[in-house]
């Protein structure tokens, strides 16, 4: 028994170093490829909006709350606690941000959102870590409680304020933004020239240098900081050990309860930041129901990203991008993206053929064929389908590229001290 446990923990706690390097190498390799594909599609189809600075800026705005919620999920699940209550913690975050930003400004507002999110995290931690309640049950309960508490407190907080109402806060201040003067103008100019690749790259530079919210920078820092903290420090190693094999961690002297508790509370705090971002950056005030399921999408993005920060950021950006594209120039942009998906499916089919996985290859080929038929027989995609685009794209990518996902080995399992060997 103890031998088995130990072997599991070794494999989990110390992944072969070259594996990590190839994964990183791949992530950077994808970036120019994606840029070239999108740029080529823009030139071929004439759908200029698919790589405009405006679309990329909107994509970032849509992606960050999802990524932050996903990051919350990452902390919790890496310590072995499934957190389906992200949505609820995010709702608490929007409320905290709304209340504290109105009274004390954006930075206290951010702290307030973190505190409110942490309350949700503490609740989940007490239920799952201390009392051993089923993780899903506790998470669902938090989602329900948070929605109720938020609409109750929103009425108490905002009803009598000028410009506020029982379901919404008054307009709030926005966090400061950063514009790098020379670069922003030059890139905007270049982006407008419709040159292959160069203009697209310039649009990306423009989106990152003009009116970039400091909260966006903070969010990106949190993503990379989490990667460093959980994978490069012994604190992180212990925390992940609690998610892979808590009994093994216990035998090595790690206080598993403490780490799990901490991770779940951190999860709530990050969800709170996600709520703050949604309240003060993506919109301009608190509103009941503004999260709209983004916490669940964050959870999906984390799974999509194989329980890793870089992966979940990619997943969130993919979702945010398709969502922004369909909201801005709906039919036209999604029509152009359809071409990309079809070409991608064809490439996947060839790859599957090489791997001699004939069923998958045929399926990919079939879908690609239908998609191409659709592409060439229409000019725009009707509204019913553009709304599905973000979900369908994410599902397709998940189905094709993420077949080797591995969740933390003890994720979702109840842990009791002293049950080792």
């Amino acid at each position: 028994m103890s031998v088995v446990v130990q072997r599991g923990s070794v494999a989990a706690a110390a992944p072969p170093p070259e594996g990590r390097h190839t994964a990183r190498f791949r992530l950077w390799m994808w970036f120019p490829l994606v840029l070239i594909v999108i740029s080529a599609t823009r030139v071929v189809t004439g759908a200029d909006d698919i790589s405009s600075a405006g679309t990329l800026r909107a994509a970032l705005l849509a992606a960050i709350p999802i990524a932050l919620a996903g990051l919350g999920g990452l902390w919790s699940e890496r310590a072995g606690v499934v957190n389906i209550g992200l949505e609820g913690m995010m709702i608490l975050g929007t409320l905290g941000a709304g209340y504290y930003t109105y009274h004390f400004g954006v930075w206290v507002g951010l702290l307030g959102a973190i505190a409110f999110g942490a309350v949700g995290g503490i609740l989940h931690a007490v239920a799952t870590v201390v009392f051993g309640v089923d993780h899903i049950v506790s998470g669902v309960a938090i989602n329900i409680i948070a929605a109720g508490v938020a609409s109750f407190l929103a009425e108490a907080f905002f009803k009598d304020l000028e410009g506020g109402g029982p379901t919404q806060s008054p307009g709030l201040d926005k966090p400061p933004t950063i514009t790098i003067p020379g670069v922003a103008d030059a890139s905007a100019d270049l982006a407008g020239r419709d040159w292959f690749l160069l203009s697209d790259l310039a649009a990306l530079v423009n989106a990152l240098t003009e009116n970039l919210s400091v909260f966006t920078l903070l969010a990106l820092a949190l993503v990379f900081g989490t990667g460093w903290l959980l994978w490069r420090t012994s604190f992180g190693l212990r925390l992940r050990a609690c998610g892979e094999s808590p009994t093994a961690a216990e035998t090595l002297g790690v206080n598993v309860y403490r780490y799990k508790f901490l991770a779940v509370v951190a999860s709530g705090m990050l969800s709170g930041v996600a709520g703050a971002y949604l309240t003060v950056v993506a919109s301009s005030g608190y509103q009941n129901g503004s999260t709209g399921g983004r916490g669940f999408i964050g959870l999906a993005a984390m799974i999509f990203g194989n329980w890793r920060p870089g992966g979940l950021l990619t997943g969130s950006l993919l979702f945010g991008y398709t969502d922004a594209a369909r909201l801005r120039s709906g039919g036209e942009s999604v029509h152009a993206l359809l071409l990309i998906v079809c070409v991608g499916l064809l490439a996947a089919a060839i790859w599957q053929l090489k791997k001699r996985s004939f069923v998958m290859a045929t399926a990919s080929l079939g879908i690609a064929g239908l998609g191409l038929l659709w592409y060439f027989s229409t000019d725009v995609i009707p509204g019913d389908f553009t709304e599905m685009a973000p979900y369908v794209t994410t599902l397709l990518v998940l189905a094709l590229f993420s077949q080797r996902l591995r969740m933390p080995a003890a994720d979702g399992l109840r842990y009791r001290r002293g049950e080792a060997g």
Binding site: D49, S52, G54, T55, A58, L61, A62, G96, Y99, L111, G112, I114, A115, F116, A118, V119, S151, L153, A156, F157, K159, D160, G163, G165, P166, T167, Q168, P170, G171, T233, S234, F235, R238, R258, L262, V265, M269, L278, A282, S283, S284, G285, Q287, N288, G289, S290, G292, D323, A324, L327, R328, S329, G330, G383, D384, E387
Partner: protein, 356 residues
């Protein structure tokens, strides 16, 4: 490592302390609760006892509930009556709404006015149980014999703001932001498009619906509203009209960011009066849906012993819809707007209620 744990623990303690002040602050606004300080507390006439059931949001929503209350406030004094308000909760069922209406009917309130189309099935059930009392549903589709539906010719009001958009657009490119793609909002779009085309058929019209069938993504999606509006501005539009509920607040954020030379048109209430000061210079006008007028007219008719039933439509002629002039941005084109308004009232212009 031990140190990291300690730092983390300290951070958590700090956060707990913060959470502590959060809960102590929470009590503050509750003590200054001013809800209930309404006309219904002070009115003591012996005229009709009016019952008003709000939709989610209730009094203070700066939108249709408040508009209904404004009508109630005035008409209670006009007819020297009394009244009672009841609030709704989010995510409730028809049974909850029926219970609320039954409470009013049981309490002898007559007429009973329900705000919002969601009440229609509940009114049908309860109105049948209390055939002696009169019911009305704002925007409704109830079928009971003693129930009236107070509906609005949104397409006619939208036509006029479409005219205003066309006259003010220098880029010859205007936009429409819709909430949920269905007959209700399509009527707004159809009227708006007809108004724009009446001025200049060459003007390009962009149209975006935030959702096909999900009311939350359609009407409560401020972030999505801003993204879609910014997209239309980037694609050359300089005037955008929204019929997207609270998502429309995203349009106001977008127009402020787009800056000078861009306009937004509000809906339902005079939104110039409720947006932030920084956004006011961009609110060209608003399409008004006078729920207050409909409440006043309905109760007045009831008081005179002739409560209407079936569908009652409030249009331009009865001043049930219109456009706002706050801010003075449409003063220079008001003659033309009034001219079109008269043509619609006279029947010379037939405004479509469905898109082509």
């Amino acid at each position: 490592m031990r140190r990291t744990t300690k730092i983390a623990a300290a951070a958590m303690a700090a956060m707990l302390a913060l959470a502590g002040c959060a809960s102590s602050d929470e009590e503050e606004p509750e003590s200054g609760d001013s809800a209930g300080e309404g006309i219904c507390e002070s009115a003591e006439g012996d005229g009709p006892k009016i019952g008003l059931a709000y939709d989610v949001g209730g009094r203070g929503d700066q939108s249709f509930n408040d508009s209904a209350y404004a009508g109630l406030e005035q008409v209670v004094e006009d007819v020297d009556g009394t009244c009672e308000e009841v609030e709704a909760n989010a995510g409730e069922s028809d049974a909850d709404r029926e219970e609320r209406l039954r409470l009013l009917a049981e309490g002898g309130f007559d007429p009973i006015i329900a705000v919002g189309f969601v009440y229609s099935p509940a009114v049908d059930t309860v109105a049948a149980e209390y055939p002696g009392q009169s019911f009305a549903v704002v925007d409704g589709y109830a079928e009971a014999k003693n129930a009236a539906n107070l509906t609005f010719a949104a397409n006619e009001g939208s036509f006029l703001v479409g005219v205003a958009a066309a006259l003010k657009s220098e880029a010859k490119n205007v936009g429409f932001l819709g909430g949920v793609d269905g007959p209700l909002i399509q009527a707004f779009e159809a009227g708006y498009v007809a108004g724009v085309e009446a001025v200049d058929p060459e003007i390009e019209i962009q149209s975006v619906y935030l959702s096909q069938d999900d009311p939350v993504k359609g009407f409560e999606n401020q972030a999505g509203g801003e993204t879609a509006s910014t997209g239309m501005f980037d694609n050359g539009a300089d005037v955008i009209y929204h019929a997207a509920g609270k998502s429309g607040l995203g349009l106001f954020d977008a127009v402020e960011a787009a800056g000078e030379g861009h306009w937004a048109i509000g809906v339902d209430a005079d939104q110039y009066l409720t947006v932030d000061e920084a956004q006011q210079p961009y609110i060209l006008t608003s399409m008004l849906k006078r729920i207050d007028t409909s409440v006043i007219e309905y109760v007045t008719a009831f008081d005179e012993g002739e409560a209407p039933t079936g569908f009652v439509t409030y249009d331009l002629e009865s001043e049930g819809v219109g456009y706002s002039t706050s801010g003075g941005f449409v003063d220079d084109i008001q003659d033309e707007l009034e001219d079109y308004k008269q043509q619609i009232i006279d029947g010379e212009i037939e405004v479509p209620a469905e898109p082509k």
